[in-house]
Amino acid sequence: MIEVKNVTKKYGKAVAVEDISFSINDGEIVGLLGPNGAGKSTTMNILTGYIEQTSGEVTIEGYNTLKKPKKAKMQIGYMPEGVPLYTDLTVKEFVTYMAELKQVDRKVRKEKVEKVIEQTGLKEVENKLTKNLSRGYKQRVSMAGALVGEPKVLILDEPTVGLDPKQITEIRNLIKELGKTHTVILSSHILSEVSQICNKVIIINKGKIVAIDTPENLENKVSNNNCIYITVEDTEGKIETMKDKIKEIKNIQLLQENEDKTKQYLIEADKDVDLRKKIFSEFAKENIAIFEMKKADTTLEDAFMKLIEGGNK
């Protein structure tokens, strides 16, 4: 359980995060979402105790980060942005050092380090210096460092940045797997990632929380009119008249003209009506050939853009 109450962080007069409050229950995977410079890293740094908030309170598993920093930090495994590693240590030495810093009992240390190395798939490189590893492996070493000592909470700052698609899938699966036994907070600006792995999203913009909800709810909340993307060959230029023929159409907007003389339009209709059937038959009558037709889903991306733009206005 993580509770953040009215946390503000100021640098002189500049405000990095302002009066944010949220709580995260055990076993949740939470995505912290926001444009660059929104305050994601600042929020994470405050949670991990790397920086201190100007005002407000953070409790991790019941321990206040300012009053009981040691106890609070014991609960957290942190993977910082940009995966800083000690380059003169081997993978095994690094993970062992992290275990020592986290005061993992000497008797079980070796075994725990082995386990984490196994879990993150680092067995084959355990004796290599971290500086000689590829980015994907470095990311895993950093993850291993966060995991060792069995913290209840995992905080991952941009865990998939700089990875190739295969590695991204691997890391995502690992996070999903870890989510079963840990509370996970991750930051990202890749929306599809968040909607895939998180069961709660916190959207931050300009240091303020814009929304906290499940990805599905966020999508529904901002779902706008019923939109259809359609690509047609309209030699007679009749498409504008279709608005009168099908009453439910509110707007027809030209998106692009393709080289093969087809045009792509966005058709907006009232909510909760599916016009596809009607369009199909009516357009055929008017001799407009439909090449492609697709219902536009509102994605988390749309939700995000809408919320962020709303905040900027």
């Binding site: 790397y50 201190e52 986290k102 005061q103």
Partner: protein, 226 residues
Amino acid sequence: MWAIIKKEFKSYFSSPVGYVFIGLFLIMFSIFFYTDVFYYQSTNFEYIFYSGATILTFITPILTMRTLAEERKSGTEQLLLTAPISITKIVLGKFISATLIVVITELCTFMYFGILSFFGTPHLTTALITLLGFLLLAMSYISFGLLASSITENQIVAGVITIGFFILTWFLPNFSDIFTNFSLINIFANFPSGQIDIADTVTFVTFTIMCILLAIIVMQRRKSVR
């Protein structure tokens, strides 16, 4: 704290730093051993440490400039500061491991004591007192080096600040007598005579504690302004 000491100590020897420090010191020390003692057919082992202190003035930054600055620059500081360990222990750990390197260096200088014993009878107590004074001087130097390393993320800057400060305190007495007791290297100069001066010892110890405390404060303070 043990984890920090162990790791830091190890990294002095997994990188050239430890070897360069000890090697450089011993090379210079050998030269002075010849010019200051051996050449005059003297057995005053402690005399070499006047020059030894000069060497130390210039090579201490090798040990200290990386310690905190590099952690900050590479971001590994985040790993340290988010681990359940206090800043005091982090700074002390780094201080102790750097001091250990100096202790090793001092132990190495005993071979010169051995050489002198072969030709005559150098005074063991005086030698030990000198080594104690030298260690106190080194601790003061290291603690200042740590402080310099804590205020910047550029290790070169940390190194330059460190040497600059040592040279400044070294020559300050030349400008005015008021500064006589500000010069760390002058304070050390009393030890090779074989006396443990309480005032000198207290000066070194308090200077060391002061620098370490300041380094801790700098680190702590950055937590709220970072």
